[in-house]
Symmetry: C2
Subunit: 273 residues, 2 copies
């Protein structure tokens, strides 16, 4: 059975999409064809959305599923005419919240809330730039400004994790690749030693590491199973010897790696979304 | 009035956080102290969470607000003992969805759904690597593999937008800085011309651009208002002459820039979250 699911919003659609995916992932027996319709912010666009939804419903033989966060009542009235089963987030939760908080919501009074906050924007761009400038051990002289310094062997997930932490949380994350030389010395490089309290280790299953490295450089010593087992063994020994916290990135999404690091270190997000 | 809001999850907490922030942003008269508690996946952690929630409630003089996506019933039972007003996403929406879809949810049968999908992970890392490798016009020989090539003057938001599109949607986004030389030629550089259908322009308010550039290089010609006005004028003329779609990044969040580009170009996300 295939069902169409529409995530509809007058803004980016990220809330509807995030919640929608979370709910739909609970139904493993059904294949969902997901469509996000962002910026449905006038009656014409709403009517076009309804046409699209009705075509999909006819195509699948079932009503579509709609998960929406549209605020404007006139737009909602049009969306409601579609052949669909609707999950109405605001209707479900804002009325009880209004009662609990003793205040009317912007939704109820028909005012959409302010979008991008410019301090947030600047902090976030600064964090992304910091992650880019301090990626892969490129520079170590700015580690005093870092919130965290991720360490690990090449291709264990340091760069995407640093960028995600910057983008989502505004955290200034540098990262530094631990090489065979570092491990042969049985100690942390001097540039890291002074910032030891900011270090956080990543590790990875050696077989998975070998597969990832093979995509970049097939049949190399770098990608060989033997080399990967050796490096991972050594780096985990180093973490233990130095008393560094570390987690495995194997089978984890970038979100999960990043949020687990936040939880383990107690770092707090610097952005209010 | 200050209220504590807790976003609680047995996973990353991203769904609870996203929905929670969306709902709370509708109450502009109230200051919320937001706390995310991810990976509450055993009874001990649940009990610690309750202690923390109760302390916050006592501290503010009001029950806390809880927005949660915990699946396990025993953990939920403990969370329910906290002094809090609870927004229960799964309880609210899964029962009606089960009826509509004619299937029991994993939540109901007590099975948590599978997290990271390895194809997704690989596609995403590949897209992030593509964005990094093809940032700022560094290389132009891989544009055939790009889904989109963002163009614009220096510091208008190309890099964070490319990275966000890669991370969130798995889109391979290159970016290329248009310089005075390109604009003086009144035409697109040859490396871009062959991929004209993939180009998407960014522009920005010149005063804002000058402020951003000043943070990087104060009192330079590069950051001067005159120079910024000149470059933005020229680049917008170029977009119009070449018939390129473009949007302004001024006062937009990175999410908004990225999702608007997706909507304008009709690009579809390559990741199923």
């Amino acid at each position: 059975m295939k069902r169409y699911a529409f995530f509809i919003s007058d803004g980016t659609g990220i809330t509807a999409e995030t919640l929608g995916n979370s709910l739909l992932s609970q139904f493993e027996g059904i294949t969902f064809e997901r469509v996000t319709l962002p910026y449905i912010d006038n009656l014409d666009k709403a009517q076009q959305a309804v046409t699209k939804i009705n075509e999909s419903a006819a195509n699948s033989g079932f009503p579509a599923i709609i998960i929406d966060t549209v605020v404007d009542k006139n737009i909602r009235t049009i969306i409601d005419t579609a052949n669909a089963f609707k999950i109405d987030i605001f209707a479900a939760f804002l009325a009880p919240l209004e009662q609990e908080l003793g205040e009317q919501s912007s939704y109820t009074v028909g005012k959409s809330h302010s979008p991008a906050d410019s301090t947030n924007y600047r902090d976030r761009i600064a964090a992304v730039n910091f992650a880019l400038d301090n990626d892969d051990g490129a520079r170590t002289q700015h580690y005093a400004d870092a919130d965290i310094i991720l360490v690990g062997v090449s291709r264990c997930g340091k760069t995407p994790t640093s960028l995600y932490m910057a983008m989502q949380f505004g955290i200034k994350a540098a990262n530094y690749p631990l090489t065979e030389d570092d491990m042969a010395d049985l100690t942390l490089p001097a540039s890291l030693r002074t910032h030891k309290h900011k270090l956080f280790g990543l590790t990875i299953d050696p077989d998975r590491l070998s597969a990832i490295r093979t995509e970049r450089r097939a049949n190399s010593r770098y990608a060989s199973l033997k080399q990967c087992y050796h490096e991972v063994d050594e780096v985990e020994l180093l973490y233990q010897r130095e008393g560094l916290k570390f987690i495995s990135t194997t089978d984890k999404s970038i979100e999960e790696i990043a949020t687990r690091i936040m939880a383990e270190t107690g770092l707090q997000r610097r952005l209010q979304s």
